[in-house]
Symmetry: C2
Subunit: 297 residues, 2 copies
């Protein structure tokens, strides 16, 4: 079976490396240079004291794909662009989405593919250069079927224990739970420039996060609020020293996934005629920081 | 006429210097060393290219005052402490409060003084050391009578044009307007670590400030909202390069006037059974930054 991976970021490289042992993997990159580097040097994964290098194919993403299964491992804002203008290039029997957020769900009914799975990545990963990714936190990837047969995706269970996939029955619950984690942790850590742990160990920040959580939970009419809140606190403790991806994006003056996360909440609230004062306020503050960074560039 | 000034901070030193030309001025300080320094070296004011030094008396604030008029030039949180435990030490015929915020107003009915004035300082001032203050922005000081006769305070009009006093009929409007300016500018600049001008030139920040302003204006059932909003925008433009006192306090790891400003709003909202989501959220974020700074010390 041939696997195609759209996106040469941290998640794309990590996924490519771990599937390359058993499958023929091709990474589709935005830049020619990265594709050339990957063909020459392979993907190197650093995990703890270990460093392993994996042979992969790579091409710039300019023509139709030719694999059986495609992983979409681009950021939410690049994905929107692909789904709006380049769906025809995504030739495959089955497709797996690896995005945070829920912005892409509305596009799914327009896809021609027979088998579509959604997944959320709960690993820590940091891209060090075009061919090297540091697997900073071994977690798992939850996945669920949006359309088609579960068996099509049975190959997911063949990966190493360091990159395990766990099946979840309800895709909506899965995405919403991950979205709640991202909403609670990412924008606040980016604004305050603190590692994840501070959101639970520093009481004023915990209160701010709780206030935000309660507002968003009401907007989504979330079930099992107490359990999900505890899950968020656990994630903060387990990743206490981590700097969230949004914080790293802000510090590097890069575009963030803010729109996929908070903009989505604001639009959802708007449609339901619910006010979202805290989410709107926080969105403006972090968007301001993002644009400050882009101006400096 | 003898003038006493409680507090050897930027506002206290500036006030002492400008009144010392025509009056016998004594500064009451918290620390013995500052009082000694002031007696030896006087107060030096740097304003533009000019530097002037003014003879003053100074004492640590441990006994009753002996002057005719007292200026209270301490921060809101120190003032609360004085008003709760040391009112008997404030011996004078008349008293002038120089605080931002409105936290002290509830104490005024308990004061035995016959003449009480309230004032808001609209100067830029930066204390450089125990005897030196930089007058970074020449503005004015608005004042109003809370109790007693206006004539008692006629000496206020005798100061130099660089330190002018402007009489205002309604003390509540005056304080509320100044409070609105501080609410809009101080906590946001401290959290975002930006100079005042960014709050109007950077659109996302302007939107966040507007959202905060609207919430607080509703809580106080503010009249003339459009005029006050425009006044706030003007202050941001006029002091565009300034770093607010709260931002400087946060950067130096000092306690801020956050409680006098946002805590006051939250309590006011609470008493009236109005929700204050944005104010509460912003309070938690800035309080968190304040405590982070104190921990590092």
């Amino acid at each position: 079976m041939r696997i195609g991976i759209i996106g040469g970021g941290a998640v794309g490289l990590l996924t490519a490396a771990y599937f390359s042992k058993n499958y023929d993997v091709t990474i589709y990159t935005r830049r020619h240079e990265q594709a050339e580097q990957l063909c020459t040097y392979g993907v190197t994964v650093i995990c703890g004291d270990e460093q392993t290098t994996h042979r992969v194919n790579a091409k710039p993403f300019v023509r139709e794909t030719e694999e059986d299964v495609l992983f979409l491992a681009v950021k939410q804002y690049d994905l929107t662009n692909i789904l709006e203008t380049r769906i025809h290039m995504l030739q495959a029997n089955a497709i797996v989405f690896l995005q945070n957020g829920m912005g892409h769900v509305s596009y799914l009914p327009h896809l021609p593919h027979d088998h579509i799975a959604l997944a959320v990545v709960e690993h820590g990963a940091l891209k060090l250069d075009d061919t090297t990714v540091s697997h900073t936190g071994v977690g798992q990837t939850k996945w669920s079927v949006w359309k088609g047969e579960k068996e099509t995706f049975s190959f997911l269970s063949s990966t190493s224990s360091r990159f395990a996939f766990q099946y979840v029955a309800h895709w909506e619950t899965m995405l919403l739970e991950k979205l709640m984690v991202n909403i609670a942790i990412n924008p606040l850590t980016a604004l305050l420039r603190v590692p994840n742990g501070m959101l639970v160990t520093h009481e004023p920040y915990r209160q701010a996060m709780k206030q935000l959580f309660c507002e968003v939970a009401s907007i989504f009419q979330l079930d099992q609020r107490e359990r999900i809140w505890q899950h968020i606190e656990t994630v903060c403790h387990q990743t206490a020293a981590n700097r969230s991806s949004m914080l790293r994006d802000i510090e590097a003056g890069r575009r963030t996934e803010l729109d996929a996360i908070l903009r989505y909440v604001i639009e959802h609230a708007h449609k339901q005629h619910i006010s979202a004062p805290i989410t709107t306020f926080l969105y403006a503050l972090v968007k301001g920081k993002e644009l400050e960074g882009e101006k400096k560039k």
